[in-house]
Subunit: 389 residues, 2 copies
């Protein structure tokens, strides 16, 4: 139940030897049409990996029918040689597809995504044979293998399917750290067999990521490689309305974003920060993010401590409209702070579970937004202090 659930798609995942563990590390997704619709959203980090630069470029031309993805190396901060590696990967993918399918493929139809350690070249002598093996293994039920091959520190693959009336959206994602706005750090490929104009696809994807992936802020760190692609085959012959398509893509992104949050490196809590009573949605998001990124709030949550004073201190760093003496804060339903001061007994707050909801009422308007984050745990420090060594 993943990228190959919608009709018109094949996928594969293989082990090419990029990962020292020998686990699968190369995936290919092919859109067999009849349409070749595509939309993409990318990291807003100004230090962009070579595959992001490449894929942004080919998407501008349109007509992308193939996505090739690798884990085991981000190909970021690798200079012109790294970009050449991405280009060569796309060329090789197109050539292999042409020779195995009899159809003509060009490098400009191939999007490339990479994930792993920043700053090292990819071992092309392993990657290119792996791409060939994946292409030879392309199958209509290959989506699960592809989802497994893009994992890095993920403990499990993330896939989703959302059904429309006669059409479907499928998806896969990876990501467990560097999850922050301007894209939760991750790769995500969504597929649909709906018939949709390029503008409709693009609008649906942007609307979806804005309220899902862009509002996951696990550790405040923005990646160089984030990419979300949406491919449309049109194979269902059904044309949903723009609203229907947007709703389905949003549901798929929401499902995958919550799976990312649940699998975040070392996290013991999944935290929803609901900001209500804001003067505008931007204010609500800014406040949510400031709380999500505050290490003292995050460590308190790890310690099952409903330390609302740290929450107020974080809110106070923002430019959002509010009166410090009018803020209410509830932690898991207990209003521990009313009008900026202590209210219900904090000992009533039960933080022993994995799910935490922090509700902040700014009493400054009617807008609201939810930002999702994790706690800051010993395991996060352990995992991220040992990642590249």
């Amino acid at each position: 139940m993943t990228v190959t659930t919608p009709r018109g798609f094949r996928a594969a995942g293989v082990a090419a030897g990029l990962k020292a563990s020998g686990a699968p590390d190369v995936a290919v997704v092919v859109n067999d049409g009849p349409d070749a619709g595509v939309a993409g959203v990318f990291t807003t980090n100004r230090v962009k990996a070579a595959p992001v630069l490449w894929t942004e470029q080919v998407l501008r031309a349109g007509g992308v029918r193939v996505v090739v993805l690798n884990s085991g190396g981000a190909n970021a901060c690798t200079g012109p040689a790294g970009f050449q590696d991405t280009h060569a990967t796309a060329e090789h993918t197109a050539a292999e597809l042409t020779s195995t399918s009899g159809r003509e493929f060009g490098a400009g139809e191939v999007a490339v995504c990479s994930t792993g350690l920043i700053g090292e070249r990819l071992p092309m002598d392993k990657l290119l044979p792996g791409v060939g093996a994946a292409i030879r293994g392309l199958a209509a039920d290959g989506g699960d293998a592809a989802a497994e091959a893009i994992m890095t520190t993920d403990t499990r693959p993330k896939t989703t399917v959302i059904s429309g009336a006669g059409w479907t959206v499928g998806g896969m994602a990876k990501g467990a750290g560097m999850l922050a706005p301007g894209m939760a750090t991750m790769l995500c490929v969504l597929t649909t067999d709906a018939v949709a104009e390029p503008e409709t696809l693009d609008a649906a994807l942007r609307a979806a990521t804005r309220v899902t992936f862009d509002r996951v802020d696990s550790d405040g760190c923005m990646s160089t490689n984030d990419t979300v692609l949406l491919l449309a085959s049109g194979a269902s012959g059904t044309t949903p309305s723009a609203a229907e398509l947007t709703a389905a893509v949003t549901a798929a992104c929401h499902d995958l974003a919550q799976q990312l949050l649940a699998d975040a490196e070392g996290a013991t809590k999944e935290v929803a920060i609901e900001v209500v009573g804001a003067a505008g949605e931007d204010d609500a998001v800014e406040v949510g993010r400031a709380v999500a990124r505050n290490n003292l709030v995050k460590t308190a949550l790890f310690g099952n401590d409903p330390n609302w004073g740290r929450i107020l201190a974080a809110v106070g760093t923002t430019a959002a409209a509010f009166d410090p003496d009018a803020i209410d804060v509830a932690v898991n339903g207990i209003w521990v702070c009313r009008s900026g001061a202590a209210a219900e007994d904090r000992s009533k707050v039960d933080l022993t579970g994995r799910d935490v909801t922090i509700r902040i009422d700014l009493h400054a308007g009617a807008a609201e937004a939810t930002v999702w984050t994790n706690d800051l745990s010993h395991a996060y420090v352990h995992e991220n202090s040992a990642y590249s060594t």
Copy 2:
């Protein structure tokens, strides 16, 4: 060698029972003149503790001759009742000083500083008798006792003395967590026996904090209580130039800021992030802060891992002027990144010591700035997940 080293000051520190440990928790510093010069810099957090609101107010009127400080409670997010507690503390301090000294003191001459847990009222039945005891214990050599009484999670008191030609600047500070710009979270009282106009004092203090405390970003968390006060007695009879005074106050602030950094909660590294080649000083500070606040960089440093890719990813989140393909990064003198890609062998970097220098050359201009931070360790998580429980 602290706030009582300059002539014209007395101080004291006593245990009033605010801290469960029974350690000293109330300090008083009195300026015996002849001048009553004062300048102050405060947290830029919009959620300000009651003593900050009070002290900002009395400083606007000028003529502050007394600072009363307590640890064991921040009196932040305590509403109008908390502000009344601060007001009552100032009134009580003035009354006690009047009765013991024979001189007339008013509450408007008393600055108040508090530090400790946010969101709880201070136990006034303990605080006010403690203030009385401190005033009765005021002594010309009481600076060290005062410095000890303002400690919270600090493992040691922080004091400094900078000598001019016939005049001196002394200081004390506390702070070990919530150290972030818009003031490294802390209380700091500086004293001088120099003769100086209020405008000169104010300009000297602002110039000093801008390049010292404001550039310490230990954990990205901004406090509700940060206060830096500079009192001038004029007792030396010497009037230094504005430049001399600024240099001495800056040196005192730098010394205390480095002591804060060295004592930051759970830190195993003191990290100087030197940003050079920036188009402007604001760009350099923005880049330095972005790196200082990046949890993936901080955990990598804890793991002795010169992960320059994470440094570039952090730089890429800023709006500073730079070309991603032109950035150089050195870690402890080894240029592991040149022109945005791998350069010298990262295994040459020795990160086993406590001091770390990250030098980032943006190649975009001639401006530079240094931001100081710490690593993110297991001990930080431990200490901050258990603080209020």
